[in-house]
Amino acid sequence: MAEGQFKDGIASERLQLAEIAENFADLHPPLDHHEAVVEADRCYFCYDAPCMQACPTSIDIPMFIRQIATGNPTGSAKTIFDQNILGGMCARVCPTETLCEEVCVREVAEGKPVQIGRLQRYATDTAMRAGKQFYERAKPSGKTVAIVGAGPAGLACAHRLARYGHDVTVFEAKPKSGGLNEYGIAAYKTLDDFAQAEVDYVTAIGGIATENGKALGRDFALADLTGRYDAVFLGMGLAGVNALRAEGEEADGVEDAVSFISELRQADDLSKLPVGRRVVVIGGGMTAIDAAVQSKLLGAEEVTICYRRGKEHMNASEFEQDLAAANGVTIRHWLQPRRVIAEGGKVSGIELEYTMLEDGKLTGRGETIRLAADQVFKAIGQTFDAGPLNGSGNLIALEGGRIKVDEEGRTSLPNVWAGGDCIAGGDDLTVSAVAQGRDAAESINRALMG
């Protein structure tokens, strides 16, 4: 029987543990002191800096870099945390190439931006490693706030509310807090259980109680919260996954990329995590890249991303696409799934149809291709599941399938705010969720204390 990487079907132990460990090493290793100072020296300390404008949380980037350059990384971390208490994770997962670093004037000048993300990590790591807490709770306000979801939006909201002295209770459906930071990000971007370390760092301010394993719509209803708390913040993310809408997708081996990534993040021993020998990932976003690259790193022999539009339409950044290619993932464009081919109930391949744009509309070209596959991941977007929310008697207004909020994060219901991926008009970025949670907390504080 074939061993290791040659095992057909979905199998574990394709690679030795040592190889796996090497494969899942830090994508962007931390800068050491020398590297950080050299890099910090490259910053021009721009006026009204473009990088700062591009940051959804408006971190004063030139200032924090200047603080690194002047030998004050701890002060630098405070500059970051003032705007973004999850600055440590954002330093790891932000697509900086499409945010701050894209508009860095040195990108304009030399095609080589200051490595803002890595510098941010240097500063935040320095402070967090030293256990340095910068914020104290104000004296108790006597007000209580419930937060649904302990992801980036909920945590940022909770921290800011705790600073104002409000008593915060966070309800989290999953056993661990952190949201997508814990369950949804590629493992090589956040090593050493950083997500949990960050949750601990954020909640160390005090005044934040977390109840894990408590799901909205199952364990409590929104009305329970609005009745018992002075304010409610909804940050529950996206629970639904889009279907392939391809024939036979119920076959064994057709899985959600999100679940695969989550299992991978929770696995104690990655060599025990099964993966296909030939993997096809359907989608064009970050989730598709994360699933594809990690499949490859686990030992899958052939990994192909199939995306129904062109390279320029992919949600995954250029950097992420290159990362996939560098790891041996093949990215194929203009292919949409038509039919999952199964043998004995198990997937054995997928039939895809070539596509094209016709008058701006995506159309199939009739021509098809078959790719052998013993595992197919769906990574074609997540959806907001309003059932748990509105199914319990509330009628919160939605927009485009997600919660409608105003510029301060207020929903259509009194005393209920929302932020993160579950709200309409977002960009599904961790850093944006942090900004929305933080700003909603400011709005809640104004409402409670006004």
Binding site: V38, D48, A109
Partner: protein, 437 residues
């Protein structure tokens, strides 16, 4: 190709690049490496009188300041004159000069301020076959406390006296090295000239403390928790040195006195600038101590290339050429009007020109034009101060453009005058006498 051979007060060298009297010239090993690398000459590290050599500290003797990327900008030292035996030095000088006859070997000297001491050492140096001597009147630490170095250089009467002793007691050319730690460098230069010096060299190092260790509040370089002022040098002192060179070059009392320029020279361009201000040769130390002797290749080739490009055949075509253009403020043309111009194709939109002008100067650069990030000069406000040029990270992006005579200065609303007019004739000058009707 340009001929950069140098003949400085009779001392010949294949190029004008000498190593200054300093650690790189303390012994034959280093000096021979320098000559192999292509240096035109050396000023051997200062010899003292016969007897037990001086002793140096046994901890840090250098301090520094740095710019971005830890580029060394300024450097200081608390090292003394050579701490090697006089006879060892003299023997090595003789050997090196014999092996390298085409290179300049000048010997720096510092002995007590007594004629007998100078009379004793001069024949010993002469015997080595050295090309000349340099009088160290500049060392600002240690030796000055013992009545030598800058303690002499700061008293013009002493300078003149010692120079005269030397001129009377040796046939070798005498170069007098001046300290910048004075209010007016022309005074010791005039004194050296009066004493009959063949040339002056400057600057020696500047009194300085480079840093303070904030953990134990010790000045640096720090010896067991204490520090003392050391001699400052390197790129940071170049502007100070060039001004002092120019002051001597344009002083009617010392005009024409040969000058060996010293102070932060790091590239061919630095050297050419010193030469344009009147330096016949240049002396280098910090750049060599930072990068090694190989930098002289860049200096030699760079100088030649520039001279070829500009049609300068020999050093005489360059030396002193900028001196007539050094003047007093009161003679600057007040009718010369320039405005900054920002090349939008080169602009990387860092905005530093804007914030510098907005916060600290004349509010003459936009940050937004029609709602978009764009930096343009507002000519109605621009006084042509050059701050934006200096803070811009892109060379050549912002330039100062003179307004043509007759064109409108939007700041004053007046046309640009074609005539030269300076402060001495300006109506606002209280010293201007109203001409009789």
């Amino acid at each position: 190709m340009a001929d950069i051979r140098s003949n400085f007060v009779g001392i010949k060298s294949p190029n004008p690049f000498w190593l200054a009297s300093a650690p790189p010239t303390d012994k034959a090993y280093n000096v021979e490496r320098a000559f192999k690398a292509g240096w035109g000459g050396v000023v051997w590290k200062t010899l003292g009188e016969e007897g037990p050599p001086v002793v140096n500290v046994n901890g840090p003797r250098y301090g520094a300041i740095w710019g971005a990327d830890r580029r060394l900008l300024g450097f200081n030292n608390i090292e003394l004159i050579t701490d090697r035996d006089l006879w060892v030095n003299l023997r090595e000088i003789k050997e090196v000069k014999r092996k390298w006859p085409d290179r300049a070997v000048v010997v720096s000297l510092m002995v007590p301020c007594e004629e007998e001491a100078w009379k004793a050492i001069l024949p010993l140096v002469e015997d080595t076959g050295a090309d000349g001597i340099e009088l160290n009147f500049g060392c600002p630490h240690g030796m000055s406390e013992r009545g030598m170095g800058s303690a002499v250089g700061q008293v013009p009467e002493y300078v003149e006296m010692v120079v005269r002793w030397c001129k009377q007691n040796t046939r070798m050319p005498v170069i007098t090295k001046l300290t910048p730690n004075v209010t007016d460098v022309r005074k010791p230069a005039r004194a050296a000239h009066a004493g009959g010096t063949d040339a002056v060299s400057l600057i020696n190092t500047i009194n300085s403390i480079t840093a303070v260790d904030l953990d134990n509040f010790a000045p640096e370089p720090s010896i067991d928790g204490k520090g003392t002022h050391g001699g400052y040098c390197g790129p940071a002192v170049k502007p100070i040195a060039m001004n002092m060179v120019a002051e001597i070059a344009r002083d009617p009392e010392t005009a024409g006195l040969p000058i060996s320029g010293i102070g932060g020279i790091t590239t061919w361009r630095d050297a050419a600038e010193f030469m344009a201000l009147g330096s016949g040769t240049v002396q280098v130390c910090t750049a060599a101590m930072t990068y090694g002797f190989k930098i002289v290749e860049e200096m030699v080739e760079g100088l030649k290339t520039w001279m070829d490009d500009k049609g300068h055949a020999t050093l005489d075509d360059v030396v002193g050429r900028a001196v007539p253009n050094v003047t007093d403020w009161q003679y600057l043309n007040l009718n010369y009007i320039a405005k900054a111009r920002i090349n939008q194709d080169l602009c990387i939109k860092c905005g530093r020109c804007h914030i510098a002008c907005e916060d600290t100067s004349h509010q003459a650069i936009t940050s937004l034009v029609n709602g978009a990030r764009r930096f343009e000069v507002i000519e109605e406000e621009c006084v042509g101060c050059n701050l934006c040029v200096n803070v811009c990270p892109v060379e050549g992006c912002i330039t100062m453009e003179p307004l043509a005579a007759g064109s409108l200065d939007k700041r004053t609303g007046e046309p640009v005058q074609s005539v030269y007019a300076n402060w001495t004739t300006h109506p606002n000058n209280p010293a201007v006498r109203v001409a009789a009707e």
